[in-house]
Amino acid sequence: MWFPNAEVTINPALLVFLGIIVGTLGGFFGVGGGFLITGGLLVFGVPPLFAVGTGLTLVMGTSLINTLKHRSLGNVDFKLGLMMAAGSVPALYGAQQLNHQLEAAGIAGPVIRVLYVFFLSVLGTFILYDHWRVQNRSNTSSRGESKDGVSADGVGADGVRVDEVSTAGLARWIQRLNIGPRSIWLPGFGKVETVVSLPVSGVERISVFVPVLLGAGVGSFAGILGAGGAFILTPLLIYVVGIPTVVAIGTGLFQVILTGSVGTFFYALSDRVDPLMAVLMLAAAAIGAQLGTSATRVVQPSQIRFLFGVIVLTGGLAVGLEEIAQVTEIDVLSTVAAVVLLGIGGAMCLGIGVLMIKAKRKTHDLTSADD
């Protein structure tokens, strides 16, 4: 099939395959999947700038579909999302200006890849470590042992429930933080309290400056890295702000609609988007999104976090291989990187399907036993 804007011929079956992977993982993990799409399109022979631009366009579309689905499940905290947008949108603009300067200096590519490898590796390692630690505490508790001071009702010596993430104490401290004045005056709104509650996220009190600063930080990284930023935002919401996993996923996706739209507009402005390719992949991603989002209802949050850690580490490995390929000029490494990413992504989609079937069977067995 001929794509007129990118001026390239690609087998549509390959794009459909990529779309299904991105849609499924996006709905399940609450990420746009920019690092997956760009890598895949590069392997299919799409010119690099078109791969990034079309990738961002697909990120925006899949995030919109997944957010709507998560909204119907009550997983989107719009209040929190809009507060973060107040920080992320201006930060995105600033980051793009910085990107232009890096590009002018000829170091944009290496800086972006090194940042990617660093963040994806640190994040993936931390998520897997946290999963291992929480599992250990949970096992100790279920055996009725008093190791680490975990009581029979599952509460540890630090007062943190064993089924929570290991940073629950930090999250509670962040929620209690008092930053800046207690109220501010906004044109059109008058005097506005700066400490709010977030009922959807189950947060009783939090300073508005926390999500605004978080949004600014994530917007900066997203702008520099050319991604939606959900792969950083979702873990931060879970581990630092203490938002429940499924609400963090839904709210992260809502945020990606905003960052993705801005990115799409700028790339389309410089004619680096192929809408035909994006819409074709979007149709496939819509089907995958139904599977991925529905799976979050039946799969344990700890399993979601574990699989997210694996895909983030895989992303770090793939970008690392790409950087080595650029430095050593061994082109085959670029292909290996994208194949690894797509292979693990495809395998993970199958894994999500299996987990969903298992969970449904378990529910069915329990219902039958009750009858």
């Binding site: 579309g61 689905k69 389309a268």
Partner: protein, 62 residues
């Protein structure tokens, strides 16, 4: 259509950028509705067959 896409992107970039964002957003909304309906239809069919099976099993028990 190929000519239209190629010409619009070359002649008016701002209109083209708005067109791309609009088309993708509209497609996403439409696809969301369609796939949601398909899923509900599938669940309705599954429920229908599930009820038949339960009814058959109840008949056997009674």
């Amino acid at each position: 259509m190929n000519d239209f896409l190629a010409n619009l992107s070359a002649e008016s970039p701002v209109l083209w950028a708005l067109f791309v964002v609009g088309v993708v957003a509209a497609s996403a909304l439409a696809l969301s509705v369609v796939t949601g309906l398909m899923l509900r239809l599938g669940q309705a069919f599954a429920g229908l067959f599930g009820r038949h099976k339960t009814a058959e099993r109840d008949d056997v028990v009674s």
